[in-house]
Amino acid sequence: MTRLPTLFRKIPLPPRAGFLPAAAGLFILYPFLAGDYLIDIAFFFGIYALLGLSLNIVLGEVGLFDLGHAGFYAIGAYTTAILNTQLGVPTLLLLPVSAAAAALFAFLVCSPIIHLRGDYLCVVTIGTGEIIRLALINNPFELTGGPNGVFGVDFPGIGDFFVIDSSIKFYFFVWLVVALSAAGLLRLQRSRIGRAWNYIREDETAAAAAGIDVRSYKLLAFVLGAGLAGAAGNIYAAKLMCVSPESFTFWESCLMFCIVLIGGMGSVPGVLVGAAFVSLFPEIFRPFAMYRMLVFGTVMILMMMFRPGGAWPRRRFTPAPDELSGGSRRNDE
């Protein structure tokens, strides 16, 4: 495990990171310049970024095909909706609770299936995602509200003192969570865990031979990924104030899959590009009405033709000699 002090070291920045302050400035100014509609689009961009980051842990870092990720997202959203409407637990407090519920669920479901390889694992995750969605529709114990879902989720806030109730506040809320997650994941990539994950992705047998506990590391990826998706579900439920099964279909899982691959496997900035593509593209091409999804499909094919590694692929990290002996880190990634 990562020793605590290393967690507080500087986050490695990509070279030519000079545009980062500019981008950050634009992000802060944006909601004051744009109308509510444009702010909401940026909010959903943030949600997809969060979902992309969560699937990126499983698919991008470890190379496990997960086409049922919408299930974990649904668990988070429904945990929030049910606990808030039935028991009146504050929505903001439910953010970690939802993440934990989704993570626990992933642990229980994935433990028996984690030994499956490649596409067999893929199909089991599809099955799990579908089972969750169908279960939500069938309204077990009168909890999930069937096809209509659950209504009346409260806005998150700290008492009555500060309530996130407007588009601008939700925008900052979701992007704060995205920024924190992205920073955490960038740290994780460079840690012992991240390197073990990448080793498993590149060659599972060799990783096992080198003494990596493949099973535990894979489970950890699922648990972390599901937790982050659960957190995204919480924010989504809070923003929409209601949840319904149709938001968590197989299609949604496929979209997350595309975010990671269009951006570039295991690349945090790539995930942002991919999320921007799937969330902004259909909005930008709204004037094309029924032809826009035709264009969307075509562009997906073209992107894979011209940039098969993704729009912003992860650069291979080559440690400097002094780093191998445990010396100071260079920020060369």
């Binding site: 499956l116 067999y120 089991v124 099955g127 169908l134 499909g297 894979m304």
Partner: protein
């Protein structure tokens, strides 16, 4: 017992739909290791083309060729068109991406699926379409109290004939041997003089054509078709492929039939609302205990 047998026949009917679609998935997967997401949409396209041919040509066709002759012609025409689309999709969306590896091809396949699905929506409109009623005489046959409709019987016969034909082509002909060799090891097969592109052409003709035939049969059986139905059938058929063992054609056939049976019997005896949950649970249980599917071979891990 009578109800049970009728449910078994219903299950086999649905199962043969899944099996025919699953064959397309399995063939492509066997050769290219690619989950061809667009395959479900070939099925939808076939169904809509069959609908158009029937609506605009049924009077002329049935008067000359009789009902069954017209039906065969419509199905064959739809299968031919979809086969051409299948070859086109392979050329445009998959071939340029093979060198980049497996995962980009998955995204490309999803893109092709979105494209086809929305092309159907643009061409035929977003609403449900209904196959013309009473094309096929609504005769019910009965043996010892078990009722089976004529249409069901024909669907079962056609499905099993097609599956049998494909099995013979793959297992008994020289070309079939070439396909199996390519599935086993593409590079070695190429070195033995097998033309990889011909094999690809073959699977992308036959797979979509089988899907189109299934589409017409589903249209005749349920009468109502929608542009999104390929997604659902595709998901089930892909599940069937895995259940049987990926890339194993008899496995895909049995996987489809078993899936259809489970769905019908689960719906009849457990709960109609939970039948799909039941199907996926069985799938997961099967994979936990047999990680390469029911008929999958134990393969040694590559080191």
């Amino acid at each position: 017992m009578r109800v049970f047998l009728e449910q078994v026949i219903n299950g086999l009917t649905i199962g043969s739909f899944y099996a025919l679609i699953a064959l397309g998935y399995s063939m492509v997967y066997g050769i290219l290791k690619l989950i061809n997401f667009a395959h479900g949409d070939f099925f939808t396209l076939g169904s809509y083309l069959g609908y158009t041919f029937l609506v605009f040509g049924s009077a002329a066709l049935t008067s000359r060729l009789g009902i069954w002759g017209g039906m065969v012609l419509v199905t064959a025409a739809s299968a031919l068109c979809v086969a051409l689309v299948g070859i086109g999709v392979e050329r445009a969306a998959y071939r340029p991406i093979y060198p980049a590896g497996r995962l980009p091809a998955v995204v490309s396949a999803l893109g092709a699926s979105i494209f086809l699905q929305n092309a159907v929506m643009v061409l035929w409109g977003p609403r449900y379409r209904a196959y013309p009623a009473e094309l096929i005489p609504d005769t019910a046959l009965a043996w010892g109290g078990i009722h089976v409709s004529l249409l069901q019987l024909v669907i079962l016969l056609v499905s099993f004939a097609l599956m049998g034909a494909l099995y013979v082509i793959i297992q008994r002909t020289l070309f079939g041997a070439a396909v199996r060799a390519t599935a086993l090891d593409r590079d070695t097969a190429s070195l033995m003089g097998i033309n990889f592109n011909k094999v690809i052409l073959f699977i992308f003709t036959l797979g979509p054509a089988l899907g189109a035939v299934t589409g017409v049969m589903v249209g005749l059986y349920y009468r109502q078709i929608s542009f999104t139905m390929g997604w659902n059938y595709g998901l089930k058929a892909f599940t069937a492929t895995i259940l049987g063992g990926i890339g194993n054609l008899p496995g895909a056939m049995f996987g489809g039939l078993i899936l259809g049976l489970l769905e019908m019997l689960g719906g009849a005896y457990i709960s109609a609302a939970w039948k799909d949950v039941f199907v996926f649970l069985i799938l997961i249980l099967v994979l936990i205990f047999r990680p390469t599917g029911l008929f999958g071979e134990k393969t040694a891990e590559k080191v």
